[in-house]
Amino acid sequence: MKMETDAVLRPFDAAPTALTESELQRARTTLEEIVSTPYAPWSEHEHLTSPVRRHGMRFAFVSAAVVAVVVASAVVRSDGASMAYASWTPTPSAPSAEDLVAAEAVCGDKVRNDDTVDGDEAKVALAERRGDLVALVYRTEDPDITAACLVNNPSGTTDVDGVRFGVGGSSGPALKPPRDGFTQGAVFEHDRGAGSITDGAVGPAVTGVTIHAADITVRATVENGRYVAWWPGPAFQDGPETPSGRGGPQLDLSYDLTLADGTVVRDAEPTRPS
């Protein structure tokens, strides 16, 4: 018997040829979600191989462009004792080299042991200290992945505890912000809104980012085209009972940008895809 290879294989297509009515309905719903909520924070997508753990930390990824997508799934987790937030300062300081070594020893392990971020590629992009707390942001640009790590590390000590760690991002490369604008990256909320951390990218003309989160005003650390900030309060409008995920919590943040010429752009909107 003589047959052509493709013809032999064709009947084995595992994909149904037509969508069912319920699939069509869900497809329409998905489309409306995508196009009608361009400014909503996106959020996690359940990893195909390991369930998302939600205890303690919610996550949204409003990537450079808007809806953050996601593929890398957000696996967020926290452990350790509750942090002492009383020492928090609205203006950051740079951690010392010793602080960074101590924090990196703990956070680096988290990054390397996480399935959703490439531990070999992810590098510390930003670090900041606010009181006793040191925040590290690890990044890969393609895919656009942020791993945020917050530790309690009183200055001048090598003590590190109260680790908060989250990973989020998209499957595509990071978008570049315009010269005088910014793109909003991951937003993590931990301990039922007791604290939040966010990062993103800024254009070359942006020298400062101030974040308003409810009644808290935070001056972000801005360096090498990125910003990061941590504050002792929520990031989302909704209470912690609203889980991460599509249609999940809405951000409660606004941004002021300071440009190199001294101009302050109030309520700046993050750059979104056209």
Partner: protein
């Protein structure tokens, strides 16, 4: 709105592409992620419909590969085939036997071979579009396809003589 048109024209194909590669229970979630990426990167999407479709397939593939990193950083995605191919009850016995052999042979192929064959047979991609999905040159893809077809033929040759498909002739 161009995005809506793209979604309407390609959703079914993207979902089917994913259904061939993951458990059906996950396929719609993955397709949704693909279109969220498309929304976010709309300006990056090729204007030609067939190329846009291939671009979306590439996003889907990368998404699935990212999710499987923990399982060994595979560079190719295995492709599922139907457990029982549609077959009329009046089909000759040798056809039925061939199909059983093809199903077994498919499982013995590498993920790379399955992927190369699937692009041509199930996903209906041209060589240049398949190359776009894989991020390789069209010649590189055609070489992969050639090797995949040979592998499949070796697996089932005792039952049936399979002839080259037309794309092999254009290497």
């Amino acid at each position: 709105m161009r995005y809506r048109a793209l979604y309407s024209e390609t959703y079914r194909d993207v979902l089917r592409f994913v259904q061939r590669r993951v458990h059906p229970s996950h396929a719609e979630d993955v397709a949704a992620e693909v279109f969220l990426t498309a929304w976010r990167r709309f300006e990056d999407i090729p204007r030609r419909p067939d190329d846009a479709r291939a671009w979306l397939f590439g996003v889907a593939r990368n998404s699935l590969l990212n999710d499987r990193r923990a399982q060994g950083r595979r560079e190719a995605l295995a492709v599922r085939i139907a457990e029982i191919a549609p077959l009329s009850t009046s089909a000759p016995d040798d056809i039925a036997a061939l199909r059983a052999d093809v199903a077994r042979a498919w499982q013995r192929l590498s993920s790379t071979d399955q992927e190369a064959l699937s692009f041509a047979v199930f996903d209906d991609l041209s060589s240049s579009q398949a190359a776009l999905v894989l991020g390789i040159t069209p010649v590189g893809y055609r070489l992969r396809l050639l090797r995949a077809r040979r592998s499949l033929r070796r697996q089932i040759e005792p039952v049936c003589h399979l002839t080259d498909s037309q794309t092999e002739a254009h290497l």
